[in-house]
Each structure stands twice: as structure tokens, then as C-alpha cells.
Amino acid sequence: MFAVTDRGSSQTIARQQVTSWFSPDWLTWNKYSEGMLRTLEKKILQIVKTAYRGWYVDIGPVVGPADKIWTISFNTDSPNTPLVLLHGLGAGVALWCLNLDAFAASRPVYAFDLLGFGRSTRPQFSNDATEAEQQMVKSIEEWRREMKLESFVLLGHSMGGFLAAAYALSYPDHVKHLVLADPWGFPEKPPEFKELPLWIRTLSYMLQPFNPLTGIRVAGPLGPWIINTLRSDITKKYAAALEQQELIPQYIYQCNSQTPSGESAFHAMMSGFGWAKNPMVKRIDQMRKDVPITLLYGSRSWIDHSATDIIKNKRIDSYFKLQVITGAGHHVYADKPEAFNQIVLEACSHADRSVKNKHLALMPSHDESEKTESDAGSRSNQ
């Protein structure tokens, strides 16, 4: 596994040399560097006590010619149902840092940068909403195949929640429990009845062709500063755990300053000002009945709750649990990590129970708090 990791870093070095040959580092406007991203991620993940292992999973030609997905894993030897984490738009694996310890205490945890995001490769996605979604779902499925996971609890936040639901629609066999944390793309776009002044309509029309995070890339070296000013709340959420305040905005900048490939896929799936072209509420009834769903959101989150009622009604004869975390916003997992972890772990143990009920005879019982030496070793290496 370390060989793979090392190969990644050697590639980085090579690329850095090339860029510095043609134009010196300080002259480039875009301050992205793979090495920088790697260091930042490592620094943020230092607050996670559990040992982890990170490597590129080669999923072959899914969207681009050779796609690789950056994956980190924890406690892989535990016999319990694994938990797979899908991050939201513009985020990466490191933003789960407040939750990983709690999750990894009882089960294997896998987190990866979605294809086209973070440290994963950035292929050109389709411009069609359905196709882009299928490409994303396929990349997740290929990743699962490569990882040889049979069944797992799938947790998605924001855009990750949308993709998790889309994945569960296509591959319900592997999803033991679907946990959606403030998912994006569920409600339908309501008709606009409020008439707004002409200049606002013009402005929004003009902004539509742009990718959502274009501003950060355009800002260049000012990017981290802009993130810190406009999203000071994100930095604040991690302030208690992270000593270096500038890590999070820099990490987010590095994640999003590369070619916007995953972002353009999102842009393709989006219609209007952030609505989904194919909203999930329309399709949720097509999901197989035996996929249990836990939906959780923060009380301050501004996601439309009308969709929740629809889901509730449509999945009346299958497991559906709604959890609201008071005082939390859209980034539930960072706003109230303890409450969030507890809800997710409840869902996980629900999955464990259902697995045990099925194969009661086959399942050997293991100690849950088992930790491996190899993990500890890899941590010290990192």
C-alpha cells in the first residue's frame, strides 16, 4: 500500500518540476499544488487518534482513461458492517476529521474523495444530468468492487447524499443502510411566483453558465483568504479541534482550485440556482423497500423540509427514520459532531443487527474494539 502512496507523491514532484521550469511558482495565478494538498490533508487528519491508511484505488477507465480514487480507511479488520462516507460539494475526506474516531471505534470506515474532487483524478464528465449522475454512481460501484466490499452503510452529506441515494437506487444489494445527512437535490424546484426586479434576474441569468466555485479559482492566491472571509463559520466549526486555523480554508482552496471536473458534473446535475434536474423525491419510491433510510439534518439547515414529508409518505412500508439535530446547520457533522456520530452509529448498529439476524449461524463474534498493529505502524509513518 505504501508503494502506491509513494508513487502518488513522486508524480507530484515530477509535475512540480515541470511547472517550475516553464514558469516560476510565484508567477502562476492558481496556487494549486498536489503536494500542498497532501500535506494539508495529513495535517488535518493528525487530530484523528485512530490509525489510518491512505492510498489510491485504481478503478480503471470509468469516465476518463484511468481513474484513481483517493481513499482512506480505518479499522479495516473489524467484523462489523463497514461505513462508507461520501463528502459534499467542494469538500474532501479531511473534513470528516471530527467524526472518524467515533465511527472507527466499532467498525471499518472508508472515506474517499469522489471522482473529480479532492485528490482523486479529474476526468471530463458528461454535460447531461442523468449521464453525469450515472458516471458518478458507476465510479462508486467500481470503487466498491475494487475494495471488495459486499455490503456497507452508506453515509452521504449534501451532494454526497444525493449520490448515495442514486447509488442505492442502482445497487440496493450493497447498501445495508442509507444515511443521508442534509442531502442535496431532493426537493423539486418550485415555480417562481415572486417577481423580482429585472437587474436581479439578469444577474442570476448571467451567473448560470459558471461553475459554482469559479470564484475561488479566479481569486488565485486570494482564494484561501476569500474562503476564510466568506465561510468563516467552517473554520470556526473546526477551531476547537484544530490548532492551526488556516488549515481548513487552505485545504478547501486546494481541493477546488484544480480543474473543475466533479464540479462540472454537479453543474450538469443542477438546474437553476442549485436545484437538482432530476430530484430524488420523484424517484425515491423506486428504491427497493428493504433499504433502510436515516435522514438527518440540522435544525438551522435551510434545506426544504417539504421533501421529507414526501419521502416519509412514499416509504411508508419500509424503515425510515428522521433525525433533527438542534442548533446545527447544513454541515451537521461538524456543527454537532457528538450528536451526529451517535445518530450515525445507531444506524450502523441497526445494520449490524439486520446482518446478524440473517446470518446468525454464520457470523463469528468478535471483539469490537480490536485494533491492529499495522494500522498503528502506518500512522507513525504518515
Binding site: 415572486k194 423580482l196 463559520d233 437553476g272 442548533g327 447544513h330
Partner: protein, 681 residues
Amino acid sequence: MNLSFAGCGFLGIYHVGVACCFRQYAPHLCLNKVSGASAGALAACSLVLDLPLGETTSDVLRVAIEARKRSLGPFNPSFNIHNLLLEGLEKFLPDDAHVRVSGKLHVSLTRVRDGKNVIVSQFDSREELIQVLLASAFIPIFSGILPPKFKGVRYMDGGYSDNLPTLDENTITVSPFCGESDICPRDDSSQLFHINIANTSIELSKHNIYRMVRILFPPKPEVLSNMCKQGFDDALRFLHRNNLINCTRCLAVQSTFVVSETLDENLEYDPQCKECRQHRQEALVSNMPDTVLSIFQEAIDSANKGLLNWLFKHRGMKLLSVLSLPYTLPADIVYATITKLNLIPTVKAAPMILSRNITDFNIVAAVGTQFETKSLQFSALGNSLVPVNALVPAHCTTCSPITNNQRFMATAPQIGNTFWDMSKYFMDQVSHVLNKLNNKREQLSAKITCQLAVTEYGGTDVEACQDTLSTKNKMNLNFTLNLDDSDLPISQSPGRKFTSSKLLQRRPSLTINRTDTGEDDTFEHILQVTSHHETIMAYYYLDENNKVKVTEIFDVTDSDSPIVQTSHEREFNKNLEFDDDWDESTWTTTHALDDRMYLDERRRSLGETSEYSLEDLLDKDASNLFSDPESEWTGTYKIEEPEDDDDLIPTTDLRPESEQPEQPIYVRACTVPSFTFQNDS
């Protein structure tokens, strides 16, 4: 749970709506700490002080309309937001405002020197409070050049550092921008991208972009009215979702405590309570209080009526006024810079009134005999309103002597202004009279009485507050005296300000079916609705078994007024009132004197005055009759009567201090004015 209001400039009207809702449906929440920045701080202050909502609304509207009048809107150099706010604060804040808000109101400020956030919650004087509030709303250059000083340090708008100060985890955040706040408008947008400026979460939606512009450029009164309504609805939805709307009975019953326990209880929602459910159901379909709505309606009407407004509404005129900007603006700027540099003290008030009088006269002469009386009535109203507004500036300017030279300079631009005002007023009058010619007579007279009632109430309220707040305990005493009229006749109070027979009608009496009197009398009507915010009391007493009980009444039954409450609900409440056997006459004769004496003594021994002390006394039995309208109490405790207190003091010595049983005093952490007394000792 604390409240926090976001700073938002002219969008502050949203907070008014939220405050309306809180007072009406969750008055217990207003008792905790309230924080805010900029406009939010003003809203927080008025919520803590229980300022009458109608007047605060009209003040916000006044500033907004003032800003809309000029070219370039609020950026016109002669528009001085700082002074307008100062005027408003001077007018509305009671003399002891700083005492009442200290520890409760938290104002977010930005220190100019280093840009750090400072939260102020202790105010030593009324002036200091005003300074802090002004500093919190001070946007450099827009409001003026030099930020105001507080304790020797210059501060500016809290929105630069922390626009939504959260005091602890359980802070209810109120923001007029759609975003991650507890109470905020929920736009029908995708809600995916949002930014966080100075702790205020703002979603990147079309509506929010529109709102951002409206922070400094106030919209039309219609839009402001809608924003206010939106605030009310959003707050209501929040309360409903969090099960914070409860009925009076429920709240009063459940808060009986063993004293040793912490008093910081959470109001639990009992899903079984039928009345709660009904109350919640009713709340869902309710609307803003009529006082506030009528003020909006007036503002909207005045913005739409009149020949001038009709003229300026047309696109062509708009274009013309924009095109003429390059010519009018330099003149404006020159005039404003001269006035801003204080070369000329502003003497606006006097010529304005003069010109109005002249125009009034002209109109009366022109219209002829048939309409003479009516227009006289109208102009009388106009005049009576002007001095109220003009009071503050006139008072300010008299202090500084004006030299001859300056006077000439001052009058030069004023002449033009006066002519403009005159012509405008003339146009307005003409259009009004023309309207009246076509309309029925009844409408006009009805409207005038209503407006008069409003102004009268407002005037007396401010006066009463300023005069009597320092002597509150005395007022409380008067309160009991009024209760049992046989004891001391009404005529014994020499310091009374209200002598009209009308006011005697609304003195407190323990009649329960007050609702029928409130229906036709407009003054009663307004009083009942505006004063519904005095809705909470807490009291502590020993019952028969000598067990100390803590009882709080969160009175939500201000909805007793026929506007808010349906007849069905009233019936329901009435039935509840007579659940217990309660005899008014026997109670007053046996208890009133005793309690009063005792209370007096307590006050003496505690050395502490309590705002609600006698009300509490009354409300001990009011726990039996839940729907006694609050307006009765608030109406009278403002009446000043200093002599009676002295007369009564000797009677308190009838019982020596040592014979009294031990009286523990329990003061709640949330600083509810509270009082301890014994039922029968």
C-alpha cells in the same frame, strides 16, 4: 434560551415582526438575554424595554420614508441617519432604560482601533445606552465621519466584526436573510450555496441579493410591510415547530416548584393539553397585531396618495428625476456639507409649521363654507402632529446661539425648502379635498377620531413613562387603592394626569367580561392591543402548609381582545375562569388591606422595589381567572401618586419585624422582577 438579532439596516423591520410574534405567543422568551448588532440591537433594546410596537414601527417607517424622499436615497448628503436614530431613541427610551436593560441587552460593537468585537451589556446612564446603540448602528461615512465614543473609546457598527452575537449554545438567532438561522425567511431557492459574513449566514439566492441591496436603500412601504409580516410568520413557524406556544393555564400550572430546585426550568410541552393545542392551532392562522398593521397601511396610503406621488410613480418622471441628478446633486451636496459641518444649526421646525399654517388657511378659504369645518378638523390634526415631531430638533437648536450672519446663511437654503414644502403640502391638500368632495362624509370623521386616539395614547405613554418610572413603587401602591374603591376614593389621587372621564373607564376593576366594552370603543381597543406585552409575571409565596411555591404566569391571554381572539375561544376561556369558586368581594375585603400593608413592609425591609409587586399580588388570584386582560393593569400603574405612600407607611408598623416568619427571597437568574410575600400570616 437567549435571543439574538442580526444587524441588517433597513431590513430591521423584519425584527419588528419577529418581536410582535414573541410578545404575543412566547413572552417568556423575551425575558432572557437579548443580543444584537446594529438594527438588531435597536430591536433587542425595544424588546427588552417592552416599547410599544406600534410606535417603534412608525419610527422605523419614518426613517425609511425619509431616506426614500431624496435623490440618491440615503446617500444624499442631507440625509442624516445618525440624527434620525438619535431623535427616535431620545423619544422612546424611558428615563430608567439603562437600569432595565443592563445585564439583559447585549450590544455587539466593533472597536475602531483594532477592529475587534466588543459586547456591551452594562450601561451606567441613559445617555450611555443611547451612545452604544448609535455606535452599534454607525457605518463610517454613511452615518457620519467620526464614530461615537463610549467610555472614551470609539466604536462602530457591530456588523463589521460580529453581526449576530451568540451568547451561548441555545441562542435563537433571528436574521432577515435566508440562511442558517433559527428564524429567517425560507426562500424557495435551492439552498445550497451560502456565505457567512461576520457570523451571519446568508444564502446566495436571488431574494437575498435583493435584500442585501435593501440594507441601505429602503424599499417601498408595501415591501417593508411584507417584510414585517414575513418576520411575524417566520417567528410563528419557529415557535410552532419547537412547541413553544403554550396556553396560559398550562404554563401557570406546571411551574409550581419545590424551592430548593433550580428555577431555571425548561417549559415542557404537554401534548395532552387541549388548550395548548387549541392555542397553537389558533396561532397558526393568526396575523400581526392590528396596531402595527394599521401603521403600515397608513404609510402605504400616504406614499400612494396625493398628486405628487401619483406624478412621481410614472416611469417618465422617474427617468426625469434620474436625468436631473447631475444638476440637483451638486446643490444638495453643497447644502449638506454646510449643514453637516455644523456651520449652520438646523432650524427646520419653525418655518415648517408656519408654512403649514398658511397653507391650511388658504385651503379653508378656498373650499368654501360647506367643507370648512372638515378641513379645519383636518388641519388641526396636521398641526397637532407636527409639534410632536418637531420637538426634538427645536429643542436641540435653541441651545446654540445664532449670529446674524449665520442666520442669513441658514435661511437662504431654507426659503427654497419652505416653498417646496408649501407647494407640496398645497398639492396634497388639494388632492385630499378633491377626494373628499367625492367621498362620503362618514369616512373622514371616522378616520380622524381613530388617528387622534393613536396620538393621544402615544403622547401620554411617553410622558407617563418618563415621569413615573422613577417612582414605580408608589404607582404600585396606587394600584391597590384603585382595586377596592370603597377604601379610598379615586378623587384622592392628586397627581393624576388623566382627568377625562374616558380614562376613568379603564381603571382596573375586577370585572371579567371586559371584552364587550372593548368592542366599540376605539381607545380601549388600541390600548388593549398595544399593551399586550406586559404579559409575564412571576411570584413566590407560601401556601397554607407554609411551603414556598414558585408560580409563574405566562399570560398569553392578551388575545382576549376581540381582534385577536375569536368568540369561540373567548367562550372557552370564560368557562375556564369559573372553574374555581372565587368571590371577588369577600376576597378584596379580607385580603386587600392586609396584603397591602404587608407588601409595604416587605418593600421597606428588602430595600428593593419590584415592578410587578402588586400586580403579582393581584395575580395570585388572577391565577384563578386567567383571562383578565393585561391592559387594565398596565393602564393604571403608570399613574403617579406620590402622597399616598407616605400616608400608609405608619400602618406598616403595626406588626413588629421580628414576628414575621422568615421570608426567603428567590430571585431568578433571568432577572424577572419578582417579589416574595405570604398569603396569610
